[in-house]
């Protein structure tokens, strides 16, 4: 890019990003941040397909502000820097100024030209991570601009400059270059112990002894969930096991010990990580000779696999099936039975953005829920137009911004849940679950947050096992 070197950025005071944004890391130090950002931007433009999109967006960005009314973050803060279009403009101005002829000419002849400074980089590092990448704004943009995509591109270039949230970076490093190949650093032996525990628990609840298929070859489904489920969400996994067992598909699936993590933080901030993690996942399925990729309850794991396995998976890609789709299929075929008299509480459903925004998984979970939940209530708005839990785009993993997630990002969602008066909120996503559990605690909303299969676990009838009624009585006795 000749323009970059000719009209080099003006020097500016080095900003102490570390004290301003303590949750970010900077691997390459803070010297020459502006030059490094522009070099990274140039490399991205050279090797990727973003350029035509940026060209088009630079022209059409209309600044109509419709996006602001859709953004849960802006609605709470009212800060112009939180308007999605404003964030997009930050990156577009840099592109226009340093990588287009028009910008280069403009910089020569206008006095108030835009310059990339340390300040602008600090601002980007801050505002790009005040967005939950829920992409709700895209639906209200008359031009159809995808602010989520641009925010993500901004994060990608920042990460190449060494600026990325520590929580995400450390997890991805372990997943790609660590020994365990997963974000929570769970060794395969620990995962196997968890499976043993789940088997015992299943035996206690249903009176059925299971042997979870591990590393079996040539199965129809290879199962990946968010690895954190093994640590924090046993009921979701038990629900998954119950459906697989009840449906008679026990010999058709397996878990791989080489890689069992569906989490892909690359979706939030880096094309590089995204592709490598997808390839790692596909590699494990190849090793096992699996036919389909079955993704557990996790929004971004589902989307990253569903959308990017076809893109990065090479010539022989495999179908990606969400566990929700699988369960619905079993239900429709009559392979599983859900007792409609077990769940008496009022239940609502939270759409994880990564599943619902593109219109992929909207009606499936509702069909499942309505088949056995008597008192089902919708949030307003819901479905493709839902509000983010407030922890999307990787924010939920950053403990340092708990305050932001509670008071800003998740405020709208908390109001929504409270307005339904539901006692149970279903959120089939590891990220959403963590965020929503913290939210209902923070706002003291009398609502229990759980996964879809946690609820299915309570109501499922497995032939030869204890009935749902019996299990409910036992659970009540145990609780007393």
């Amino acid at each position: 890019m000749a323009e970059t070197t000719n009209s080099g950025p003006a020097p500016s005071a080095v900003i102490d990003l570390k004290s301003r944004l303590p949750y970010h890391i900077e691997g390459n130090g803070s010297e020459g941040r502006v030059e490094r950002f522009l070099d990274a931007f140039a490399a991205v433009l050279e090797h990727t397909d973003y350029k035509p999109l940026l060209d088009s967006y630079c022209r059409t960005t209309n600044k109509c502000n419709r996006c602001s009314v859709t953004c849960p973050v802006y609605q709470v803060t009212g800060d112009p820097r939180d308007v999605p279009c404003y964030k997009t403009t930050l990156l577009l101005s840099i592109y226009q100024r340093y990588f287009t002829l028009g910008g280069w000419l403009n910089a020569r002849f206008t006095p108030n030209r835009f310059e990339l400074t340390e300040d602008v980089i600090a601002e980007m590092a801050e505002v790009f991570y005040r967005c939950t990448a829920c992409r709700r704004c895209t639906q209200e943009c008359p031009m159809g601009m995808d602010h989520g995509l641009i925010t993500r591109l901004g994060r990608y270039i920042l990460s190449l400059t060494g600026i990325a949230p520590k929580a995400l970076q450390v997890s991805v490093r372990e997943q790609l270059e660590g020994e365990t190949h997963n974000t929570s650093k769970v060794p395969a032996t620990a995962m196997l112990h968890t499976l043993e525990f789940l088997q015992e628990e299943f035996s206690d609840q249903f009176g059925i002894d299971l042997d979870v298929p591990v590393d079996k070859k040539n199965r129809d489904y290879v199962f990946f969930c968010a690895v954190s489920d093994y640590l924090m969400e046993p009921d979701t996994l038990l629900g998954n096991l119950a459906v697989l067992h009840a449906a008679g598909d026990w010999d058709r699936w397996t878990i791989g010990t080489g890689n069992f993590d569906g989490i892909n933080y690359g979706l939030f901030y880096s094309d590089w990580h995204l592709e490598r993690i997808i390839k790692q996942l596909v590699g494990e399925v190849d090793r096992l000779g699996g036919k389909n990729i079955l993704i557990g309850e996790c929004g971004h794991a589902s989307r990253s696999a569903h959308d990017f396995v076809p893109v990065f998976g090479g010539a022989q890609t495999r179908p990606v099936v969400s566990f929700i789709e699988y369960t619905l299929d079993c239900l429709r075929r009559g392979k599983i039975k859900l007792n409609p008299d077990i769940i008496t509480e009022k239940v609502t459903y939270h759409d994880p953005c990564n599943m619902s925004r593109g219109g992929w998984i909207v009606n499936q979970p509702r069909e499942i829920l309505k088949s056995f939940v008597k008192d089902y209530v919708e949030m307003t708005p819901h479905g493709r137009n839902n509000y983010c839990c407030g922890g999307g785009g990787g924010l939920v993993s950053i403990d340092e911004i708990h305050d932001f997630r509670m008071k800003v990002g998740g405020k709208t969602k908390a109001d929504q849940i409270a307005a339904t008066g539901a006692q149970i909120c279903i959120a089939p996503c590891a990220n959403c679950k963590k965020q929503l559990k913290e939210l209902v605690e923070f706002y003291e909303i009398p609502c229990e947050v759980m996964g879809l299969h946690d609820l299915i676990l309570k109501a499922i009838e497995i032939p030869g096992g204890k009935s749902a009624e019996e299990r409910k009585e036992e659970a009540e006795l145990y609780a007393m």
Binding site: D49, P80, Y86, V172, E177, W272, V311
Partner: protein, 232 residues
């Protein structure tokens, strides 16, 4: 003065129209090139349904007019009706299209054109005032967002005044020349400003395609920026 008007209606008009057409064509070609050459072989899915659905929905954005920024959105919608109909179908313009493009369009009638023009001017004024007075709009508005609105006002106001001598404070020829020159300036600016959404709006909708990233690009970028044995 008449010589200037002749020049503006003749060569200058042809030039402006040519710049606009070629500029828009360039946008169109570049975007189609991206779609069908650079990305096509790698596209795993093409969201035709969504594209069609979205384009139709925003062509008549009824659902979007009742919520969020209601005044601005409605003013913008009304403005587009006038901004498309009057330049194309006003009786005085039809002559031009027939002369330069050989296309004979229907006239919308002078009375209706007058009403539309006044409504359009009012709508632009609403947009202009909103941009300046509403803090959250001003915060993200660029100079060009405001100056383009002013520039759009000029041909509508001068055209209306030139057609209604009773309200016209200036000599007819002067007003008509202002009308011609401002309209031509606008035509020339179309491909270089946000007005190019005339063509590009269809391509902005397809971000699904741009989410289908180029395989191997991540590795190459990392190698360029961070070196060969780059670590996460």
């Amino acid at each position: 003065m008449q010589a200037w008007i002749d020049f503006a209606m003749g060569p200058l008009f042809a030039f402006s129209l040519g710049v606009m057409a070629l500029g828009l064509l360039r946008h169109l070609v570049l975007q189609l090139d991206t779609l069908f050459r650079r990305k096509r072989s790698r596209l795993k899915y093409m969201p035709w349904n969504k594209m069609l659905h979205d384009s139709l929905e925003w062509a008549l954005p009824v659902r979007h007019l009742t919520s969020g920024n209601v005044i601005f959105s409605n003013a913008s919608f009304v403005f587009h009706i006038g901004a498309i109909l009057v330049p194309l179908f006003y009786a005085g313009h039809i002559v031009l299209w027939e002369q330069w493009l050989g296309v004979k369009l229907w006239s919308i009638g002078n009375g209706f054109a007058d009403v539309l023009t006044v409504i359009t001017i009012l709508a632009v004024l609403v947009l202009l005032v909103s941009r300046i007075a509403v803090p959250r709009l001003r915060a993200i508005s660029r100079n060009s967002d405001v100056s383009l609105l002013v520039l759009i006002l000029l041909p509508f106001i001068s055209g209306f005044l030139a057609a209604h001598p009773a309200f016209n404070p200036l000599p007819w020829q002067t007003m008509f020349l202002i009308h011609l020159l401002s309209a031509e300036a606008l035509l020339i600016l179309v491909p270089f400003t946000k007005l190019s959404h005339i063509v590009l709006i269809f391509f902005d909708r397809i971000s699904e395609i741009h989410w289908q990233l180029r395989p191997g690009a991540g590795d190459r970028v990392a190698e360029t920026v961070l070196g060969k044995e780059a670590k996460v």
